[in-house]
Structure formats: structure tokens, C-alpha cells
Amino acid sequence: MSSKPAVAMKKMFFREAIALAVREEMRANPDILILGQDVGPFGGSYREFDGLFEEFGAQRVRDMPVAEAAMVGVGVGAAAAGLRPIVSITYMDFMMLGFDPLINYGAKLRYKTGGQLTAPVVVKTTAGAKGQGVAHSQCIEAWLMSVPGLRVVAAATPADAYGLMKTALRSDGPVVYVDHKRLFPVAGEVPVGGDAVPFGSAKICRPGSDLTITTHSFMVRTALEAAKLLEKDGVSAEVIDLRSLAPLDMKTIVESVGRTGRLLTLEEGQITTGVGAEVVTRVIEHLGPVQFTRVGALPAPISSNRILEAACLPDANRVAAAARLLQSPKKLVSSY
């Protein structure tokens, strides 16, 4: 029996948690390489690959031209040939250019070859609004949840950024790893050397008894703020960080809504065919009718104007207001 390495809690920035997970996995597996814009000497757009170029060199940490379709295509091809690339797409909006290789080839390779080939590529990308306007702000992770063969994860804390990246780099199929611009200033304790966070495992970040809020990524923080506001009104909100959007951890979600009887879904993206729409549908499939509401961005492009951007996005007050409406039975709950 081999003894497990000791786990040491260490506080670090979100970006450092990503870099540490990648570093540890790259040391353990020489097939892992990084492809992306500014991933080399610059250390990543958010410095989330800091120090990796120095340690692993230009063979394994490769700066790429501004050509996302080519980057994802090279990544999927290299994965099919036996490597394990991380393809870094600075803005999730530009993942659209890489959908063909990712969705038509990467996600289908195992099926098409009867399991003979897999494409263990991790597309790591940054979603969310932070003053950069219509084409650099979007959260389109819900679009990807419906692709068979694709896994989609999103961390809200440095610990999960670390644990989910480790799992992503050990996975056999394509993984989309989504982080968020507003999470990069965040610091938190990371269990260095601890177990990787398995996919399909949500986390109850705040227990509650009156309603369940499911959310992911930066909106976990918004949900926790809203839960504090609701507590002042005597409403006890349970907050679930989904962490993994495909697969979804329906056991944790259904058990929670079974207890609270009410569900509020929260996402920064659009609610039309959004993450929340899928969560609500599956909960009702399991439990029958429950009171629910969905909160997300207003149906408008995200402006680079700060006031318009903020008006479009969910904040704690909007979430709390929607939750209060949900507490009144038989009231028609509007999503906006």
C-alpha cells in the first residue's frame, strides 16, 4: 500500500491555483502541453500559466497566433495523436471559432472510432463581463452542455480551480474548463497535493432550508451575497455551486430541492436555454412540480459601458428579490 502524499493548505490567488495544478500535472505527465496566445514568456493573459514556460520550455508551452479555429484544431489533432494539450482561449466568445474542431471532431472521436481513439484536450477559457463589451464578455457555457462527449466545468474558488484542472488533465475526452475574469483577483486556501475534484460533483457552499440556489463560477459569490441579504428577512437559502455543468450532479441538486421545495437558478449567461433551464427541467423530472425561478443576464448584449453592463447582469439584490417572490406561493414568478 502506498501512502498518500500529505495535503498542505496554502493560500493563493485563483491564477496561481490554475498554474499549480497545470505544473503538477505537467511534471507527472510529459504528454501535457499548453497552446495559446501569450501563454509563453508572458505567462498567460491572466498570468494563470506563470512560470510554466520557464520550467517546461517552448516545446511544451507554445505561443500561438490569433487563430482560435487553428488552435483548437491543432489541440484536438494533437490529442487524437496521443498528446494531452491545454488550449487556452483568452475570451470564451472566441471559442465559437473553435467549435467545429471541438464539437464535430473532438467530442465525437471516441464514438466514431468505436473507442479506439480519444481526444483528451482541455479547452481552458475565461468567460464573463468586466468592462470589455459585446464580444469579450459572454458566458456561453450553456451552449456546450448539450454536446454529447463534451464535459464542461467551472470553478468558483481557487481550491476548485486546482482540483477541477487536475481532473481535466487526467480525463480521456475533451473538457471545457471555464473560469471568469472577475475571479482572478480572488485568493483562497488550496489543498495542495489533495484529491482532484471529480466531475459531476456539486458542492453545497451554504446550507439552508427555504430555497435552493444553484449557480456556478463568479455567480456563486453573488448567490452567497444574496443569501446574506435573505437571511436578514428570515429566509434561509441553500447555495449550491454546480462546479460541473456536464455532467450535472443531479443527486445533490434534487436532494436539496426535495428538502427546500423551491429552486432559484442563477447564471451570468442568458436564461433562454440556459444552465438554469436544464437544472429546472431535470429537477421537475425527478420531483414533479416545484416552485422555481431563473435569474440571469437580461436579453441584451453586454455593453462596455459600466452602467449598462451592471444593469444587464444579475446582482445580489436581483437574486434576493427573485427569491422573495418565490417565497410567496401561487404568485406568477417572472424571470426578469
Binding site: 491572466y46 472577475r182 482572478f184 483577483p185
Partner: protein, 100 residues
């Protein structure tokens, strides 16, 4: 008169890590002297003395974390002004800081 030197307001940042102190507790400092370098998620913040005095007590050592607005050190005008236990109550000394 005693002052506290706090983590300056840097846009988007909640918390910083103390990278390196350039002066030690007890040392006399001149206005503009580099006291400490702080690390944010993407930049280094150089904190300089806003006036001359004595760096009396360091409250967040290198490698430690501190939230925006919380004190890093105590500075006094007189060499032997007694330093109170609770630095939070002291007046904030405006700091010159530069983000690199």
C-alpha cells in the same frame, strides 16, 4: 503622532500578499522611501512612506495576506512614541503607491 499604513485601494483587488518589506521595524524613514512591495493577482504595488518618521511595527510580514484597507505597519513621528495594541484605530497615513 502615530499613523497606520494600510493596504491601498487598488481597483478590483480584495486582498494582497506582502511580497517583501524593504525596511525594518525601528528604522527611520524619509518621505518617498520604498517600504514594502505588495502583490496583487496581476501586479506589484510599491508602497512608499507618505512622510518622514519611524517605521515602528510591521503587522503583516512578507508572505502574509492582508485585505484592502487593513493595516500593514505603524509609523510614528517621534522615535519613541508608544505604539498602541490596536493599530486599526490609528489615523491612516496617505501612502504613495505605484503599480508596476
Amino acid at each position: 503622532m502615530l499613523y497606520k499604513i494600510s493596504v491601498p485601494q487598488v481597483a478590483d483587488v480584495e486582498e494582497i500578499r506582502v511580497l517583501e518589506w524593504h525596511r525594518e521595524a525601528g528604522e527611520a524613514v524619509e518621505k518617498g522611501d520604498l517600504l514594502v512591495e505588495l502583490e496583487t493577482h496581476k501586479a506589484i504595488v510599491e508602497v512608499r512612506a507618505g512622510q518622514k518618521g519611524y517605521l515602528r511595527k510591521i503587522l503583516a510580514e512578507s508572505g502574509n495576506w492582508q485585505a484592502i484597507g487593513l493595516p500593514l505597519a505603524v509609523l510614528s513621528e517621534g522615535e519613541n512614541d508608544p505604539v498602541p495594541e490596536d493599530a486599526q484605530a490609528l489615523t491612516d497615513l496617505p501612502v504613495d503607491f505605484e503599480i508596476t
